[in-house]
Symmetry: C2
């Protein structure tokens, strides 16, 4: 059954080799004053910074660099919003991975708001205006380039928020797989784990349907296959292009139109982990995934595991719970095989913070809501986190 939904993605995708040559025409539609946002030096190392500056030589460019992974409200969003106001910015150009883009989306609304920007991000006030955001994505991972969300950390209050609003869609996303060749093995693995988790968060929901199942399983299969090729040969265009495209679709919602909404519980847990310990998002998700699966496996949910077992892993028939456990083992082994340490302790997470994090999750995302596909109370959260250590 396809349930009721409303769907619209205004973002225009420019995908492929040398696609960024179309940048001046697209950016020019919005004005001459550009805020160029990026992270560390990687876009300079790969020559992308110079290329962008050359393409936009007729524009007025103001720069905001040094945007962190798990981008921070203070200083990055606040500084960016200030730069926009001071320089009469017409369009923000984000060059980098999901963190740079997420930060830029937050800037796009905060810069046109006179109050405290965090009120928009935390959902206290609804944004009504934004500066158009264009992006060049250099990491196949979050799918921020084709979604209406951003995740921002507020370290002052140990908070990490997923902020979702139609106003946050980029107007255009440029995706050239060549710019992902230099992504490290670690980031390649973590980005892929992130995207796989995006699909799983949508897959474990009710109602569901065979069409979306097939679409989502094709996505997971593609990610699992191509990440191995890219880890072996980072410059394999075919693998990098498929990773990049599937990551782009994975967080957009098109794979689960008309399916139920699960509440994205693994992301709720991971946001707490990142807020407390600043770990890499995709790694946190990979570690949590099999533990969360074990926790929610029940008569109510076993059908989802069996569908994965048959269609994704090609398992022959066996008792449902045996197959479910085999599916969970497969994910564990897969994440391990792409180089992710499968214990939170290895990433610096401390066991004595587990209870506090569980409280934090319930307070911020209420994973125990009854409408959720598989509600998680405090005990369940503590159990998942403890098993993940």
């Amino acid at each position: 059954m396809i349930g009721n939904f409303i769907y619209n993605t205004p973002t225009k995708l420019f995908f492929g080799k040398d696609s960024i040559n179309g940048l001046p025409e697209v950016v020019g539609q919005y004005g001459k004053n550009v805020l160029l946002t990026y992270g560390g030096g990687s876009i300079k190392k790969m020559g992308l910074y110079d290329k962008v500056k050359e393409l936009l030589k007729d524009f007025n460019i103001v720069e905001l660099s040094g945007i962190e992974p798990n981008p921070k409200y203070d200083p990055s969003v606040i500084t960016g919003a200030k730069l926009c106001k001071e320089n009469n910015i017409d369009v923000i150009l984000a060059v980098g991975g999901g963190s740079v883009l997420d930060c830029s989306k937050a800037i796009s609304v905060c810069s046109l708001y006179d109050g405290e920007g965090w009120d928009l991000i935390s959902g206290k006030v609804k944004a009504t205006k934004s500066i158009p955001v264009v992006d060049i994505i250099t990491l196949a991972a979050t799918g921020s380039e084709y979604d209406a969300g951003c995740v921002i950390s507020n370290t002052a209050i140990n908070d990490k928020r997923g902020y979702v609003d139609g106003i946050l869609y980029p107007v255009a996303s440029f995706l050239d797989p060549q710019y992902t060749f230099s992504v490290s093995k670690w980031q390649t693995a973590c980005g892929t784990a992130d995207a796989i988790n995006h699909v799983l968060e949508q897959f474990f929901a009710k109602p569901n349907n065979a069409f979306n199942d097939g679409f989502m399983i094709s996505a997971i299969r593609s990610l699992m296959k191509n990440v191995k090729i890219a880890l072996e040969n980072p410059s394999d265009y075919d693998a990098r292009s498929e990773l990049m495209y599937v990551c782009t679709l994975a967080c957009n919602g098109i794979m689960s139109n008309g399916s139920g909404y699960s509440g994205w519980p693994m992301h709720s847990i991971e946001h707490a982990l990142s807020a407390y310990f600043d770990i890499t998002h995709g790694a946190g998700l990979a570690i949590i995934t099999p533990r969360w699966m074990k926790e929610i496996l029940s008569e109510n949910t076993v059908e989802r595991f069996v569908t994965l077992g048959k269609l994704l892993f090609g398992f022959d028939s066996m008792p449902d719970f045996d197959m479910a456990n085999k599916v969970i083992d497969e994910f564990y082994t897969f994440f391990e095989s792409i180089g992710i340490p499968m214990h939170l302790g290895e990433l610096g997470v401390k066991v004595d913070k587990i209870e506090e994090m569980a409280d934090h999750i319930l307070e911020n995302d209420n994973t125990s809501n009854e409408w959720m596909y598989a509600p998680l109370d405090k005990d369940a959260l503590i159990h998942i986190l403890t098993e993940s250590m």
Copy 2:
């Protein structure tokens, strides 16, 4: 490999039970003067006409009814364009199947053009302005509600043209599966055959990739399964909803982003058939499909058949050409099983027009272009048509 592409679908989808209650708000964004377009009396019989009039009681409505299957430039498009000019129409509301919507799309550009409208449709002149089109779709089939194309017949010159331009996307599409419950068995079968063919036209292309393959095969599988349920029980909401949604995506292009473009040869052939004999589009496509497959089967193309055999039909390994022929047989048997007569003669097509139609196809669509996935010269076209008789 995901090849280069640009993708953007501006249309907003409102899907599900009673979704049309959102109509006044959406239509109201564009103005008060509405051209309401529809076909025969079916929307009156099912109560949709009254429902729409009630929802839009505060609007000024001008009606264009009697739009034909295989909609005609003269009189429908010409009349509609005249009505728009005379009544200062702000927005066109198409209620019905793909023909009504296609006609409305053509009206939307012709009404703002001072020259001969056919020059836009035939591609001689590029349209620069259009009236917004909103639709309520009552037939799962063409996917016109989510694409940028329309197919219009010009009977005066035996021509049927597929006209594609980004300007033709509807601004909003309302899809309530309940309004497809009363669709006849014949139209249900033909609509599904049309959508299956849309996917196949995209599937038989190079380059291709495993992700899109999985997406497309999930679509074909869903269509084949749910049409049988809907034929048995026309009011099965689950089946009707999945048919409706998959048909909507099937012609949009999202399933083949980054795949090669085949040139849609089966549609080229069918457009000639419909132009000469006014047969039902989906039936023509169903009849042509297995004959076209037999014609193009070669060392170059056999891999596509084998992929269908393994992933769609679950065949075990066997020699490639044996599997290909088995796939072709499966499609033939399937179309026959949903009630489509599998010979063109049964639909009134005359064998003595075959050569003329082959010339017409080559002249209008040039199916022998070398860039095509499997070029068809005159002999090949004649062979396909003769085998289809």
